[in-house]
């Protein structure tokens, strides 16, 4: 199973300029953020579902279905108990359940699932290099972006190393799920230590390789990837901005609020 959510396709969303993807994601976050009423979140959620379909990202939704479900259920449970407002039906010490708290909890659960959906669309259509490029375009220093990309690329290497150590320990009859919480936590020490030591061994060689390629050079950087800003990007930016503006207007008018 692939580690990251990116799906290699040539959909319209995939071909957008990285900065436009980040901008649009921010617009959808704003729209979702100001929606407290489930009725207001629903059209947005449907729009996100359409984007997921157009990006061919349903496999990622299936992959994260447990997270989607748990986020919805847990958010609903937490805010049903802890939202303070309305006439309470039942009280449990400091927590209380009221019709208002349930309506708010439902809206918040929709909101967080919508955030998750926006994230899935973005992550399914954006490579980490594109994300780092977009962030550098809006002012993030190049070295920070490079480090982020490098770290992403190292994750599978270290996961492989950890899996190898786990298999080796299991071959020796080592059971990671044995004992109480303290003992189970400590059982991970023989796995983490070799992974750490492997990382330390790589560090020097990697630093030398980077310096040999002029990493600290003050000259302007060049990249293999070129991103053109087209009329499609402008149209998507305008549409995303309109969605955010519409939801802000609805919020201002009080139509998306609870209570």
């Amino acid at each position: 199973m692939p580690l990251f959510l990116y799906i290699e396709r040539r959909s319209l969303l995939h071909r957008l300029h990285p900065t436009v993807k980040v901008f649009s994601m921010a617009c959808f976050f704003v729209a979702a953020f100001v929606s407290e009423q489930p009725a207001a979140s629903l059209p947005l959620a449907l729009g996100i579902a359409a984007l997921i379909h157009s990006a061919g990202a349903w496999p990622n939704v299936r992959r994260l279905r447990i997270i989607f479900m748990l986020v919805f259920v847990m958010t609903f449970a937490v805010w049903t108990l802890f939202y303070r407002g309305g006439e309470p039906w039942v009280r449990f010490g400091p927590a209380a359940i009221s019709p208002t708290s349930m309506r708010f909890a439902l809206g918040m659960a929709f909101k967080l699932v919508t955030f998750l959906g926006v994230g899935v669309v973005f992550l399914s259509t954006t490579k980490i290099e594109e994300f780092a490029y977009a962030l550098t375009r809006v002012g993030m220093p190049y070295k920070l972006g490079f480090t982020m990309t490098l770290a992403f690329r190292l994750v599978p290497v270290f996961i492989d190393a950890a899996a190898t150590v786990v298999q080796a320990q299991r071959c020796r009859g080592f059971d990671f799920d044995q004992g109480n919480l303290l003992q189970r936590m400590r059982r991970y020490v023989p796995v983490i230590v070799p992974v750490f030591m492997g990382a330390l061994r790589r560090a020097d060689g990697m630093a030398m390789a980077l310096e040999a390629r002029g990493f600290q050079s003050p000259k302007p950087r060049t990249t293999f990837e070129r991103y053109e800003f087209t009329w499609r990007d402008a149209a998507v930016m305008a549409s995303s901005l309109s969605v955010a503006a519409l939801y802000l207007w609805l919020w201002q008018a009080g139509w998306t609020r609870v209570g």
Binding site: F4, F115, T147, A151, M185, R186, I192, D204, A207
Partner: protein, 259 residues
């Protein structure tokens, strides 16, 4: 604070940042020991990594913890709350090595009772600063109450760091020291302020971090309403926690600058 910027001129420190980030993410993803709230958080051995890396790699670990947290989000979905995760994890990786430098000249491997007390203190303030920042931010956005998330993050960080940190450090620290991969060896010329002001900074950080957890819980549960916070009728407690904890957040930032 200067070493957080200066380290980007040192290629080995940049590589160690990427290593810290990917180690954090690589151990975070496959090893989940015990769910605390399903779908929200679980007790994870990976939460010891930023603290261990902090003692080894110093400023590189602070950036590494922040980037590693973003990588973790890329596996399960991103949202507007991630910026607070970035800052919170940055503090979780930044505070341990700076606090230890001020408290002890010995290696950060607790062997005596005195060293254990210092270690527990350092881990507690780093975990509290991280938990307060994330809990404050996500309650400010209205996503999850401080009294739920703040306490979970605190427990998670303290438990993992205290249960695993000393074991990992006792094995890894001497090897990293022999390999001259500690931040003191990689960045020998580090600018530091006067020891007195740095100690005052540590005191401010400790008071703000630990006090912030207490104040955050009082504000979130509605047990206390400070006079400078605009009155609000129930709701998510976003205004109460957001405004009420703001002076504590400013105090924490001041302490971080001084430390």
């Amino acid at each position: 604070m200067r070493d957080l910027i200066d380290m980007w001129r040192n290629t080995r420190m940049v590589v160690l940042t990427a290593m810290s980030a990917s180690l954090y993410a690589a151990i975070l993803i496959p090893f989940k020991v015990l769910p605390i709230i399903p779908g929200v958080t679980e007790l994870r051995p990976a939460n010891a990594v930023p603290v261990v890396c902090s003692f080894l790699f110093g400023p590189a670990a602070a950036w590494g913890a922040a980037i590693g947290n973003i990588i973790g989000d890329f596996f399960g979905g991103i949202g507007p709350g991630d910026m607070f995760g970035f800052v919170g994890n940055f503090l979780y990786g930044f505070i341990p090595y700076r606090a230890w430098e001020l408290l002890s000249d010995e290696d950060p491997v607790p062997r005596s009772a005195g060293a254990w007390i210092k270690f527990v203190f350092v881990v507690s303030i780093a975990s509290s600063a991280c938990a307060m920042t994330i809990g404050w931010g996500l309650n400010l956005l209205g996503f999850i109450p401080f009294r739920v998330l703040g306490n979970i993050v605190l427990f998670n960080n303290v438990a993992a760091s205290l249960l695993l940190g000393p074991f990992l450090l006792s094995v890894i620290y001497p090897r990293a020291k022999r390999g001259r991969l500690l931040y003191r060896d990689v960045m020998p010329q580090r600018q530091r302020g006067r020891r007195t002001s740095r100690r005052a900074g540590l005191l401010v950080v400790a008071v703000a971090a630990i006090g912030g957890i207490v104040v955050g819980n009082l504000l979130s549960s509605g047990s206390w309403h400070p006079p400078f916070v605009p009155p609000s009728e129930g709701g998510t407690g976003a205004a109460a926690v957001g405004f009420g904890l703001l002076p504590v957040m400013v105090l924490l930032a001041l302490g971080i600058v001084l430390i």
